[in-house]
């Protein structure tokens, strides 16, 4: 609605968490959870450090992937000059602004390299020609340098975009939008490359002999679905809590629902492509990865993943009404968020428990600890800033947006 653009503007009180609102307490509650989780991790992990490191890695990857998905979401919106999603952008910005925190949370993983990655064990390459071949890439110093580069570049981009957008709330300078738009292209390239190698380093090298060229795309697909799922849950929760309920409309829910559906299908396409080509060609050096996941109780998890991450949500999210109603959309989002965790768990854990699915209390403890920090950081940031980019020049367009 072009003619409404100059008139509709949100008042700041429509888009902030009012004092005394229950959401003001979330950082504290989440912080306490994180602390309890950390204590539990310390107690349980002391007895079983290997399990602790694997559980911690899965939880870290889970929340990290959500933040990276958020970064992609916002960068793509800038690059494509999308107008409809501006009211949702701050949720994405808050999510990726936790990336520096995630860097700190990743440190315990580095302490457990020997437990996690068999190729880091001294002497592992001695009788393994493949590991000797890969040593120029798979060696601990280079691994650490790369991790620093990944987190450094992600944090840099995250802070740049978060600061820029929040600064615009104060100054109202439309030049900020133009500048961030120009930077979005290069930032996406940096993100694509670092994310690909990060997924190779942290997930693929758990099985150091195995390789797959699509793996970076697979990680991206999962993280994007994860973030859209998170976004749909947060949107609905906000509306329920009386925040942004005048701003986020059924039209926005509908669009996020469509994105959720679309990228869920995209994930399935990528996941199936990887599986299918390896299954068909049946080369031992490739099938080892799937063999581990198609035996015993891991096969049950694989089937569950297929049904739960694709078949069931495909039919559930297909309809229009499901996507336009808060409650039903949030159920779909929460489900897919959980399935994203299962996906990562299924990628990582068979390395530790090749004999079958062995859920552990440490899985829960690590999830609570890392998730508590993630939620505390995000909700703390939410209190400090408006919940939408208040003075983005195209905010009104986004508020008034309607699905065709």
């Amino acid at each position: 609605m072009i003619h409404e653009r100059d008139h509709v503007a949100l008042r700041p009180e429509q888009a902030t968490i009012p004092p005394g609102h229950p959401w003001n307490r979330i950082p504290v509650i989440a912080g306490v959870c994180a602390l309890l989780g950390a204590v539990a991790c310390a107690i349980l992990g002391a007895a079983n450090p290997k399990q602790f490191f694997f559980s911690w890695l899965v939880s870290c990857l889970f929340f990290l992937s959500l933040a990276l998905g958020a970064l992609f979401f916002v960068l793509i919106q800038y690059a494509a000059q999308g107008g409809w999603g501006i009211v949702l952008r701050r949720i994405g910005e808050t999510t990726f602004a936790t990336l520096p925190v995630m860097a700190a949370l990743f440190l315990p993983v580095l302490l457990g390299l020997h437990d996690l990655y068999s190729w880091t064990v001294p002497g592992a390459a001695e009788h393994d020609a493949l590991l000797r071949w890969k040593a120029p890439y798979l060696n601990v110093p280079f691994f650490l340098i790369r991790a620093a580069v990944y987190f450094g570049s992600w944090s840099f981009i995250a802070i740049l975009y978060y600061r820029g957008s929040c600064g615009q709330d104060v100054t109202g300078d439309p030049g900020v939008s133009a500048r961030l738009r120009r930077l979005a292209g290069p930032a996406i390239i940096v993100l694509a490359v670092t994310q690909t190698f990060a997924s190779i380093d942290w997930i693929m090298s758990l099985t150091p002999h195995w390789y797959s060229t699509i793996f970076g795309v697979y990680f991206f697909a999962g993280s994007f679905v994860g973030f859209i799922a998170l976004l749909s849950v947060v949107m609905v929760a906000m509306r329920r809590a009386g925040l942004l309920d005048t701003v986020i409309s059924a039209e926005h829910l509908h669009d996020i629902g469509k994105l959720l559906f679309g990228f869920m299908a995209f994930w399935a396409y990528i996941a199936f492509s990887q599986f299918f080509l390896m299954w068909y060609a049946n080369l031992p050096e490739e099938t080892i990865w799937y063999k581990a996941r198609m035996e015993g109780s891991w096969m049950t998890v694989s089937l569950f993943l297929m049904a739960g991450h694709f078949v069931a949500p495909f039919f559930y999210l297909m309809g229009r009404r499901v996507k336009r109603k808060g409650a039903t959309l949030a159920v779909g989002g929460a489900w897919l968020l959980a399935m994203h965790f299962v996906d990562l768990y299924w990628q990582v854990m068979p390395t530790l428990h090749p004999e079958g699915l062995r859920p552990s209390a440490l899985d829960v403890a690590a999830l609570v600890a890392v998730g508590g920090c993630f939620v505390a950081a995000a909700s703390w940031l939410m209190r400090r800033q408006a919940l939408v980019p208040l003075r983005d020049p195209r905010l009104a367009e986004s508020v008034a947006f309607e699905n065709v």
């Binding site: 493949l130 060229t213 699509i214 970076g216 080369l283």
Partner: protein, 677 residues
């Protein structure tokens, strides 16, 4: 000072970009788009058409000689059994992807700029798929047994192997061709009706009229039409991804180094979109010039297309890099050799042409100057297509020419007949495209009209806005209804109403000046309790079905049921052949291995769904209906051009000839007419 076109693009925080320059009115768009179809053939057209037909003749000669002599006339050898034939196939299929991308994916992402180019991109898709389908047909040399590729019951009791990616190709490409034709045709229906209504000769009216199916732009038809279009887009999006994924599987399911790599499906899709956009750009630069469409296909369209090429070109570059890294990382010596051989072996020249054209050259598009310069765009679009042809050549030939045994290494050099087949396929493509631009409206007229500001039902001509020529200010009409009839091109005046013939009549037809008038009038007619009535417009007016109180189309359910049926048919067919009728162990898999059935099951589901969408749309919209009382009205001919109508049928219980006429008049109708049945 008036801005130049390039300056108009420099809108720092683009709100709604102006897509169509010189703010034309609805009628002038019809004039411009229908012009090439109705005017005399321009000389420029013959300059393209005659060489194209000559090349098509060359294809005929080359293919005839091939059938006579066999595929030995090509440069094929052992070990290079696939070369230019399959390169050309993949190249053309890839080109065919941009059409559906523009039509479907950009539609789903609400990229309105697509409206100016989607028609020609869709046409291009169909012609590219036609070119592509030649090669699998002829590359075996024995065309007379080409029907063996199809799952037809036969006396030999022989079935195609559903586990072969080559058969998936047959399904994927032919279904893609079919769905593209359906998509193209559905998009054409309203525009064919436009040509029909403007026709000066009987033959024209008849021919275009037959294919227009009696379209009368009714809101009920538009509602199903829009639903069908959305559903087709939703079906075509995964379809377009699947087609090139399946083409990539021709290579990727094999064990050959350089072919078997998991990133192939998305990488091929990105490359296909990349080359398709380059081809659209090449064609649009020429058409825009020849037919003077500069204000409809603007620099902004080129700017966006260049950005998409930058994105997809970078994706292709990403895939090249990942493949190379993983070839090393895998530690597999064959894999690494295959890639090193590409970069420094006998075909290094082809490899570096590919990298230069596909990865390096599109980086120029980071700069707006390049994205908005027609010469740079034109040259780069051709460079990219050369690069993408070489990409397929490099993939196919470099992997084949180094077999596992050095004793079976070889080198492929094309013969004159390889070249003739490639050039000839371009002849087919350009001949078809020339015929298309001559005989069909090459811009989706109805869709372009929807992106004009005055197409918005809430648009009001403000003081700062110039009222487009030919449009009547809604306020003026409301102020002086008696005067309104005189403004329409044909005057069917209100005073006729009281002196009506007593005979049976169909109903009453009121003409409105703008979509906004129509929208508000519909709300009032709905509130007055009419049920047997309809609104008619040259394009779908946003939200009109709500203003009319129509229920949502039931088409999605039809498509869902048809899609599930298709999936069941595809799945059961494969199960029956492989597990029951013709059990055979293939590549060490069980008789029935479900993953291998996924491609064909999916393709058949999409085919059925698309057929359901199109025939469901026709059925629900009661088409074809070539005769209708409304067509007796002279003024109604403009319903496919720039006029908006409400028709109320006489068998509506609330219908009363004079009162209903007065109602329409009071709602701002600028002419009201009673129609005999």
């Amino acid at each position: 000072m008036p801005q130049t076109e390039a300056e108009q693009l420099d809108n720092p925080v683009a709100g709604h970009p102006t897509l169509i320059l010189r703010s034309p009115d609805f009628h002038s768009i019809t004039e411009v788009v229908a012009g090439p179809v109705e005017r005399r053939t321009p000389i420029g057209w013959w300059l393209f058409f005659i060489p194209s037909v000559a090349l098509l003749g060359l294809l005929g000669v080359a293919v005839s000689w091939l059938f006579w002599e066999g595929i030995g006339i090509w440069g094929l050898n052992v070990p290079v059994g696939w070369a230019w034939d399959i390169t050309n196939f993949v190249f053309w299929v890839g080109i065919g992807h941009a059409g559906t991308l523009i039509s479907a994916i950009l539609f789903l992402f609400r990229q309105k700029w697509r409206t100016s180019i989607n028609r020609s991109a869709e046409a291009m898709t169909i012609f590219a798929v036609m070119c592509a389908m030649i090669f699998p047909g002829i590359h075996i040399g024995r065309v007379w047994v080409a029907y063996w590729m199809f799952p037809l019951p036969n006396q030999m009791d022989m079935w195609p192997n559903f586990r072969s990616p080559l058969l998936w190709d047959v399904f994927a490409v032919s279904i893609y061709g079919t769905v593209s034709v359906l998509f193209f045709y559905v998009g054409l229906i309203p525009d064919l009706a436009t040509i029909r209504d403007r026709a000066k000769t009987g033959t024209r009216k008849l021919v275009y009229g037959i294919f227009a199916l009696g379209w009368r732009g009714s809101a009920r038809q538009w509602q199903h039409y829009e639903s069908a279009y959305l559903l087709l887009a939703a079906l075509a999006t995964p379809l377009v991804l699947s087609v090139h994924s399946i083409v990539s599987m021709d290579f990727a399911v094999s064990l050959l180094p350089g072919w078997h790599t998991t990133v192939f499906p998305p990488y091929f899709v990105a490359g296909a979109i990349f080359s398709g956009f380059a081809m659209v750009l090449t064609l649009m630069v020429i058409c825009r010039k020849v037919f003077r469409f500069e204000h409809i296909i603007t620099l902004r369209h080129f700017d966006y297309m260049a950005k998409i090429m930058l994105v997809t070109g970078s994706m292709v570059g990403y895939a090249y890099a990942t493949e190379f890294f993983t070839a090393w990382y895998s530690g597999n010596p064959y894999e690494l050799y295959a890639f090193l051989n590409r970069a420094v072996g006998p075909y290094a020249w082809a490899y570096w042409i590919m990298v230069t054209c596909n990865v390096i050259s599109p980086q120029v598009f980071w700069f707006k100057k390049a994205r908005t310069s027609i010469p740079i765009l034109f040259v780069l679009s051709i460079v990219i297509n050369i690069g993408m042809w070489f990409e397929r050549f490099v993939i196919i030939v470099t992997s084949l020419h180094r077999d596992f045994l050095p004793s079976s290494w070889g080198y492929f050099s094309p013969t004159i007949w390889d070249v003739a087949c490639l050039l000839g396929s371009f002849g087919l493509f350009f001949t078809m495209f020339c015929l298309f631009v001559r005989f069909l409206p090459m811009v989706a007229t109805a869709e372009v009209k929807t992106v004009l500001p005055q197409a918005d039902p809430h648009w009001q001509p403000g003081p700062e806005r110039e009222i487009p020529k030919g449009q009547i200010n809604a306020r003026q009409v409301a102020a002086a209804p008696g005067d309104a009839g005189a403004r329409s091109r044909w005057s069917f005046q209100m005073p006729l109403i009281p002196r009506l013939p007593k005979g049976p009549y169909y109903g009453i037809l009121g003409e409105f000046a703008t979509p906004a008038d129509l929208y508000h009038a519909c709300e009032r007619v709905r509130d007055a309790g009419f049920t047997r009535w309809d609104a008619h417009s040259p394009f779908p007016v946003h939200g009109l079905s709500r203003a009319m109180g129509l229920r949502r189309s039931t088409l999605p359910w039809i498509v869902l049921v048809m899609g599930l049926m298709g999936a069941a048919v595809g799945f059961v067919l494969q199960w029956w052949v492989h597990a029951s009728a013709y059990p055979l162990v293939i590549s060490g898999k069980p008789y029935f291995a479900w993953p291998a059935t996924v491609p064909i099951t999916f393709e058949v589901a999409v085919l059925f769904g698309a057929l359901g969408a199109v025939f469901g749309m026709l059925g629900l919209g009661q088409l074809p209906m070539h005769h209708h009382p409304l067509f007796r009205s002279k003024v109604f001919e403009r319903v496919t051009d720039d006029a908006f109508f409400i028709s109320i049928e006489s068998w509506d219980p609330r219908f009363d000839p004079s009162a209903t006429g007065k109602l329409l008049e009071s709602l701002g109708a600028r002419s009201v007419e009673l129609l005999e049945s």
